[in-house]
Symmetry: C2
Subunit: 574 residues, 2 copies
Amino acid sequence: MADTSYTAPVDDYAFLFREAFGLDVVARATGGELTAEDATEIIAGAGEFAASVIAPLETVGDRVGARLENGEVHLPDGFAEAYQAFVEAGWVTAEAPVSAGGDGLPGAIRAGLGEIWNGSNAAFALCWLLTAGQIHALDAAASDEIRETYLTKLVSGEWTGTMNLTEPDAGTDLGAIRTTATQREDGTWAIRGQKIFITWGDHDVAENIVHLVLARTPGAPEGAKGLSLFVAPKFLVNADGSLGERNGVTTVSIEHKLGIHGSPTCVLAYEDATGYLVGEVGGGLAGMFVMMNSARAGMGFQATGIAERAYQEAAAYAADRVQGRVLGRDGRMPIAEHPDVRRLLLSMSSKIFAMRALGVYAADLLDRAEHDASIAPLAEFFVPVLKGWTTEDAVQTTSEGIQVYGGMGFIEETGAAQHYRDIRITPIYEGTTAIQSNDLVGRKVIRDGGAAAEQLFAQIDETVAALRAHGDAGAARSADRLERAVAASRRATADVLGFADSPRDAYAVSVPYLLLLGTLAGGWMHGLAVAAVLSHDVRSERDAARLTSADFYGVHHLPRVHALAETVAAGEIA
Amino acid sequence: MADTSYTAPVDDYAFLFREAFGLDVVARATGGELTAEDATEIIAGAGEFAASVIAPLETVGDRVGARLENGEVHLPDGFAEAYQAFVEAGWVTAEAPVSAGGDGLPGAIRAGLGEIWNGSNAAFALCWLLTAGQIHALDAAASDEIRETYLTKLVSGEWTGTMNLTEPDAGTDLGAIRTTATQREDGTWAIRGQKIFITWGDHDVAENIVHLVLARTPGAPEGAKGLSLFVAPKFLVNADGSLGERNGVTTVSIEHKLGIHGSPTCVLAYEDATGYLVGEVGGGLAGMFVMMNSARAGMGFQATGIAERAYQEAAAYAADRVQGRVLGRDGRMPIAEHPDVRRLLLSMSSKIFAMRALGVYAADLLDRAEHDASIAPLAEFFVPVLKGWTTEDAVQTTSEGIQVYGGMGFIEETGAAQHYRDIRITPIYEGTTAIQSNDLVGRKVIRDGGAAAEQLFAQIDETVAALRAHGDAGAARSADRLERAVAASRRATADVLGFADSPRDAYAVSVPYLLLLGTLAGGWMHGLAVAAVLSHDVRSERDAARLTSADFYGVHHLPRVHALAETVAAGEIA
C-alpha cells in the first residue's frame, strides 16, 4: 500500500532561514518583524497541517481523480473539506501580498510553504497555486471595483482563480490566441472562444471560480500586443456581492493525464461569457508577466516538493526492507545499507537539498529586488534557472525513487510511480525548459553581457575563499570542486556570449547551459551549507549528514558542469 | 489520438549488418549461409508484420490491459489473433536455436527482431521473450521426455513459457526462495508455494502455458545451492500429447502497474502442482544462468525498441506541428526546426543509434563466443553494459519524447506518456542496474584485472586511428573526443581495480562506472559509423545524417564520460 505519511523538512528550512546564507534571511526580509525562529514555526505548522489534512488525499486524488459529470467537475471525497480547512487555517491569506489584503509572508517562507503544499499533495496544491497567481495579477492591474468584488474573495480563499492562456493553436506562442472579447453597451465584455489546459478550471471545492482570460479585442493589432486581460467568473456576481446566474463558460471536457489526476485540467468554452477588463486594452501580456516570476518559482517549489515526497517514501522503504547480505556490514541489515541503494538515496537527498536551498535563496532575492533595483537583474536571472533545473532534475529524482524499490516500484500500489507520473508536467507547464532557457540566454545573459551570471560566479568565488579559510579537508575538497566548476561556467558563459550574433547556436545549447548553471548553483548551496556547519563548535549528527550530502553532490552531480560546458561550447550541430 | 504507426529501422540494420563493423557480420556468423542482404530482408519482413499486426494493439493493450476474471486472465480483443499470426508466420521458431528445433537465426538478426517486436508492442513482445528464454533453458538441461513434450510445443509457438523465480521475500536474493518441491512416488514433484511478478503467468492467447519454477527440495542446503528447476504446465499433458486436466497452479491476482498493462504480471499459487525436474537436483540456479545473457541482452533490445517508438512518434509530431516563428528560418516551419526541439530529437536518435549498434555488436559477440572461447570474456563483459546502460538511458529518451510535445505530451491520448511508463520497468527486471553493475565490476572487471575492459579500449584506439587516417575534419573531431573519452575510461577502470580490496568503494560507484562504459561504447559505435560513411565515394543524405548524429552524440552525450570518471574515482562517500 502507498505510504501516505509526510513529514515537512522543518530542520532544513530552519537551517536555511537562520544559518546557510550567513544571516537570518527572514529578519532581513521583514525588517525584523519576523525572525528565522518565527518562520520555522510557520513551516512546522504548515507541515503538520499538510501531513494531517492534505497528504492523506494524495492517493485517492490519483486513483479516483477529478471527474466530469453532467458538465460539472467533481473532486474525490475529502477534497472540498480539505480545501475549506486550508482556507480556514488562513493559508491562502497568509501568502497573499499585504497590498491585496494578505499577510504578505516573505518569499523565503513562501518557498517552504510551496514545497510543503506540493510535497503533501501536488494536485491539491495547484488549486491554491493558480489562485495565488491570479491574486498577484489582479493586485497589480485591476480596478478598485474588481479588487473589491473579486480580489477580496480570492485572498480570503472563498473563491479560487484560474489562468486562461492556452488555446489549441496557441501554446508557447500566445500571439496566436484567437479568443475574442467585444465590449457591450453596458461596458462589460462578451468573451468567445475555447481555452485548453485550464488547471482547476472547474471543481466543487469552492463556491465560485474566477477565470483570468487572455483575449483579443476588435481591431487589436496582430500578435501578442493585441491581447487584453479579462476577469470572467463562473457565477456572475450581484451588486450586493451575492452569487447570481451562471456565466457563459462551460467545461467541455477534462484531460486524461499522465499524472496529477486530482487536478482537473479543463477545456473551457466561452460563449458570450461576461468579462471585465483588467488593466488597459492591449495590456494583457504585461498583466500576465506580473505573476510570471512567482509562478515559475512556484514550479520549482512544486518539483522540489514532489521529489522530497518520493525521497521520504523510498528512504522509509529502504530502511525497513531486508533483502540479501549487505556488503561490508554484519548481520541482517535493511537495503538502505546496500552501496547502490545508499547511492540512490544520497543522490536524491543531496539534489533535493540543493533545490530547496536555491528556492529559498531565489525567493528571498526576488523579495529584496522589489525594494532594491540593483538586485533585480540577479533575481530575474535565477528565475529560469530555478524553474528549469529544478523541474528537469527532479523528474530524474523520482525515477531514482522508483529504482530504490526494485520491482515493487513499478507497482502502482506502492506509490512511487505516482510521483514519477505527477512530476513529469513540471518541466512543461509555466513555460517549458526550452522557454526558460531562451529567456535565460536571451534576456538574462546575452542582453546584459553576462553581468548577472558574473555576479553569481563572484559570490561563488567568495564561498570558495570562505571554505578554504576553514582549513578543513572536506571544505578544501568542496572548494576545489566549486572552483573548477565556476571556471568551467565562466568559459561556458563566454561561449554563450560569443553566440550573440548566431542565435541558433545560442538557443541550440540554451538548455544545457541552463542545466549547467542550475547544477553549479546547487553546488554553491552545498558549499554555503558546509561553511555554515564548519562554524559549529560541536557537530551534530545532522551536521555530519550535511557534510556527507555536500561531498556526495560534489562528486556525483557537480562534475556534470564540465560535461555540459563541453556541450555548450559546440553550439548547434549542423 | 495516439499515433499507432510504426516503421522498423531497416536502413540502420542494413548499415550495421553490412558496413558499420567493417564486414558482413551476418555472413561471418553463419559461415556465409545468410548474408547482410538476407538479414535485411528478414528485418524488413518483421517490420512489416510488426507494423500491421502488433503495433495497432499497443494502445488498447495499455488502455484496456490484461484483466483477471474468475481466476482466468484475458487479454484485450485482438491479442490472441495477433499471437496466432505471429506463431504462424514462424517468428517464434525463427529465433529458437537449431538444437531445440528452431531456425537458429544469428544474434545480430535477433537483436533487430528483439527491437522490432518490442518497439511495436513491448507488452505483447514479453510473451514471446519469456518463451524464448525458457526454450534456451530447456534446450540446455531438459531430459528427452521434457524436450519432446514441452520444448517442441514452445519452439513451435503453440504453448508459451514463463519464468517463476521471484517470491515476496526473494527478489534479487534468490537464495531466500521458499517454494518447495517434494518428489512423489510416481517420480513427479509436488510444488507448493507462491510466486510473484510472473510475466504472462496466465493468459488466453495460447492453449497451454509452461511454467519454469525455481523451488527447494527436501533436505536441500540453504541458499541458492538448494534450488532446483521444474517444469509445471498450466494444463497437464496426457501421454498422447493432448491436454489433460488443470494443474494445481492458480492465478491469485494480477498487478496494477505503471506500464506494460498489456502484459499480465501474475501472482501464482502452487498448491500441490505437478512438476517435472529439469536437469539435476540442486542445479536450478545454473539452469537459470543459461539464459541470463540472452534475457539481459533482450532487455537492451526492448529498451531500444520502446525508445525508438517514442522517437518516431515525437519526430512525426514535430514535423507536423507548426507553432511560433522558427529562429533563423523563413516562413511557417514545423516545430522540428526550433533549435531546442531539434536538440531533443537529435539527442534521442543519436542515443538510439548507439544502443542499436551496441545491441548488434554484443549479440554478434555472444554468438561468436559460443565457438571461440577467447571471445567469451569480452562478450560477457558487454552483457551488463548493454542491459544497464541501454535501459537507464532509454528511460530518459522517452522523457525527452514527452518534452517534444510540450503540454500534449502529458495527455495520455497522445501516446508519448505510455512509452515513458512502459519503459520504466526495463532498468529493474532481469536484474536491476545495480545487479548489472555489480556483475560488471565484480565478475567482469576486478576478476580479470580489467583485461576485457582493456580489449574494448584497444579496439577504440584502432577506431581512433582509422578516423584520423581519413583526414576529414569531422572524423578528426570524433577521433579527438573518443581519444579523450577512452583515456578517462582507462583511468576509471584503474580506479575500480584499485578498489579491489575495498569492495564497498567499488560497488558504490559501480552504476556510474557501468554508465561510463555504456556511454563510451555508444561513442565508439558512432565512431565506427563515421569511419564507414567516410569510405563512401558519394555521400547520401542518410550518410550526412549519420555524421550529424555522431557529431551530436560526441558533443551532447560522450562528455558525460568525464563527469562519471570523476564520480568513479571517489569511491563511496562515507
